[in-house]
Symmetry: D2
Subunit: 343 residues, 4 copies
């Protein structure tokens, strides 16, 4: 078994990593840290894990983490960059589920995240962990920037169009909707049941941190400048992201359904629905799948792509495990064959 | 008191009309029909109305309805057009909350609704009941086509831009989200709690019946051809519509906040939020209000308008009462001053 | 207009008081306090009140509050008792929506609330503000202890049985279910959407603070010792309390339906449903009503009473306004005729 | 692989059986029937199963079903009894997830289910499929009556008390709460999102079909007559049952925590929580677990047991797979080690 550690295990990505890793045949979690809950049994905090996880939270200790072959950072932004150098130096691989290594330019990072970057020299080495985008690089990496949830859903939806160069560069709109678990397990008024339930609202319209991350990859994929309008919304559901993507075709002559089916033909975790279908977020709940549909209303020039993922799985912990499988040369889908829970 | 009848009172627009009219100082519901529930007390079906509504459902009877001064049709599409001629001939005013009189062209109507129109000669007379669009016509009308819920939210959001001629005609996108009550009280699998809860999906991407209704008014407002991409989504909440509207500015020099504030300065039921705000659907729950915000992400060429209404009030029964007030020369807001219920 | 103040206006009982008082024909809120939000417009915090409430939060100032004829305390436990003496001395009437004056015995109060009582001499004067229990005392009072939400639903359900002396004193069980707004607007992990949604749990089984409050009144009503088993549950809904009450009849010969209908025949806010019916919480949403049903499964000795209220209205702010009407000799239902919002 | 068939696969127990069996190492579903959907791919109806289930619904055909070694009936009451004789005669084992074989007395069955029983001679042979109650009988059976969801949660909670003879026979109350999926996938108004959401109500207070099923087993366990008051409630959540059970101790001297821990010490799917804890339904979501807690408020004579299951797993499909494992001599937990999905 490969020894893995989790730094910051008290949030929703932490509990989801534990759920997936507890049944993984090759990874064994030997260390899970939390400053606030050190000494507490994990299943005392997360009763759903009783009988499945036999671990106690410890205070973060680099020496103990260095005994792992892989460390997942499921902690707030700014945590991984504080320990990455030291762990990498000791041969530990790292997957950061937060944002520390998602952008290449440290100044842009600081502009969006508000603090200086602690190890800018690692930014060029870090590999963006979207296997459908750069699987080969991930296999060879030692430091993975696990993508954000909105970026995963949005990029998987837009990539075939970008690669094919079919759409106007300034026509891109991503209207995205997320369940409330995307806001994390922090105690904030806006995430209360009585605030978020039976209501919907947009937020971050002026600029959301996932925008530069998405735009960066889209530009690489398209090979041109482009601008994206990105509007996230908060939806009264626990899990799930639905990205509704709009773009304008340069030319009307194109088989979009064929394009998408071909592009993802070999991908184990991307499912292109039949023409005319609309994916629902619950159809991927608890699984590492992304389901996509591509539409062209009234046969016009505008393309509409619908993309759904579970924000905690393909949008976070599941994708991290997929990346971990790649890092260690394991079958990519190992431990990720859970069927979505529906209803 | 002005005598009013309701045809088809067993759906959600019916119960909402009753809630509003039961406290209205000038209208008295004297007749409420339902083929299926004739003989049943209204409050036996809708226990929330116990003590407030003392009526019994009757089978629809033109003679009894003709004793009313105003009849609301809260029935399925195709019902009002079967009785409109006869009632109008007897001097009864009509507000149809369904779609029978929303389009001007009977052939277009048939294309979208699948049946021939029963009284095409009334289509030109019927007035589209969006007071913020054509209040004067409503005052003078005897037959009102009450707007759909999506059209109300979308039109109120787009009208200032259209009137000002500020945006590209082919850049319009309406990404709209509706609570499940918008699907009505019909027993359908897709509307079950266990189907619609904790999930989100798009539907009708290929073409929704509200599209021609919206497009028709937008064209009038803009005075030009234009095309709209309209994608509705089903959200796990009971009430509420959130329209997220996108358009591309022709010129960067424009004060959008001022434009919207001026346009709606005199409107009692449209509230333009301060710059930077995002309305939430619950902020209008149970009220006849539409709250709007206008954004321009990163100061670019794309405008994003956020528009929320309660689909059963401003999107149906409340707007119908507003229209009724106008029809009878009453203060426009009479009986509509309820404050939104939040949380 | 009677001038009223609200101390602690940033919670859910505060916003609900504002909603009700904004349309009240005799009360005018002239002062609303919040230490944390002083200087902020109320409608900047609660967007649902835009256009209806034109107030700014101020820091609590006894001198300004003394200019009111009535002060509602919608603040945490322990707040009202710190200001009550001074305000009463200046002729201000007080309605405390928290627990400071709900128990008669200061030692028992301290046992449940963990701090010494600041003005024990006022406990005997304070009147428990359940109008259906002691309307006459309320009319004559100057200090009202507004009942808790669970106590209101439970007491209204049990009182007819207690008064009639029909059931075994040690057979009482109150299995109660509350929406999440009952936990207030405080940022706590357990109240997060992602924690409370799509789940149900009991809590406080060992002893909940509402137990002594309920037991005290039940004992007075029964005129005997008795013990109650009280188990509250957290339900994934925003508003609503459903109390399911169990007791064992001493004698099988009794017309329970008649007993309840007679007991509440003159009560404007208690609705006894027809035999066999089951009230749903949404049938009272947003209203000051309590709906009750009484059952006797299989004609046996066990009585089952079902009682529903909106925890924020009849369980808090609505009952407070009802008490305020009584305090000032106004019609008891003034400003409380809103019809429940359903669906 | 053991060939299994599913009769009536279009409901929620059907889809859940498919989810569990698709990853089961010893069972292979070779036949799934639906009169209404014959010819349709299963994953066209249930998109969550795309990529995991490669089956087409067929019209029910006894000859094809007879080729299976085991048939699950996930169909309405009255279906299994029409085919049981024929299948058993051909050596096929049967697990009925509906109610046809849950009661022993055909007259009692008819009284509750309203139709004559089609094969009363099989009632005595049928084994009630609650492994924690009669595992040995299940192993030897060929016809299993899979328990109802409420009975599973209630019986697992009450059995230790009944076996120990500790409580008054007429003191039993089961206040039970169920998610809406318990009402099935039938299109009924009461199960609509807009009806069931944000509300809670009791139902079936006069007599629910699960009452005789529960009472029958409790009497066997206690070895005496007893009567139970059983009140189910509908909760706005998709999955989950929470049974809150009340009984009065005969004697105060008893270690309830020890009793429960000992009783279930060897049970793989029953988890007794530490003293003082309260289980939440989501802690078992998607899993075959029952979590229990036992309380004695204020140290009095009344016991309160809290019992939670996922109604579609331990309350239906999961328990059916557990029974199937026993029927075929497989490890009891095979294919049932999924960890609950939380949040």
């Amino acid at each position: 078994m490969i020894k893995v550690g989790i730094v910051g295990g008290t949030g929703y990505t932490g509990i989801e990593l534990l759920r997936l890793l507890a049944r993984h045949p090759q990874f064994a979690v030997t260390e899970i840290t939390s400053r606030g809950e050190a000494g507490l049994r994990v299943d005392a905090l997360f009763s759903s894990l009783r009988g499945a996880v036999d671990l106690v939270f410890t205070a973060p200790d680099p020496a103990r983490l260095a005994a792992c072959q892989l460390v997942f950072f499921a902690a707030p932004n700014g945590t991984a960059m504080g320990m990455a150098r030291e762990l990498l130096a000791q041969g530990v691989k790292i997957i950061d589920l937060a944002a520390d290594f998602r952008l290449k330019d440290p100044e842009e990072w600081t502009r969006w995240y508000g603090i200086p970057h602690a190890c800018p020299e690692l930014l060029s080495e870090a590999v963006y962990g979207l296997p459908e985008w750069n699987r080969a690089d991930i296999r060879a990496a030692r430091l993975i920037a696990n993508p954000g949830c909105y970026p995963t859903a949005t990029l998987l939806g837009f990539l075939p169009l970008m690669r094919a160069g079919l759409v106007d560069a300034d026509s891109l709109v991503a209207d995205t909707k997320s369940g409330v678990s995307g806001a994390g397990r922090a105690a904030e008024v806006r995430s209360l049941f009585a605030e978020a339930s039976d209501s919907l609202k947009a937020y971050g319209v002026g600029g959301h941190r996932h925008l530069p991350e998405i735009q960066g990859i889209l530009r690489q994929a398209a090979g041109t400048e482009l601008s994206l309008t990105f509007v996230p919304h908060l939806v009264p559901m626990v899990r799930g992201i639905h990205a509704t993507l709009y773009a304008t075709l340069r030319t009307p002559e194109v088989d979009l359904q064929g394009l998408y089916e071909d592009y993802y033909a070999q991908e184990p975790f991307v499912d292109v629905l039949p023409a005319g279908a609309c994916p629902e977020t619950r159809s991927v709940r608890g699984s590492n799948l992304c389901r996509l549909a591509v539409h062209r209303p009234q046969g016009g020039r505008r393309v509409v792509v619908l993309s759904v993922i579970d924000n905690l799985v393909k949008g976070a912990a599941g994708q991290a495990v997929q990346n971990a499988n790649l890092l260690f040369g394991l079958p990519e889908g190992l431990g990720l064959d859970g069927i979505p829970l529906s209803p």
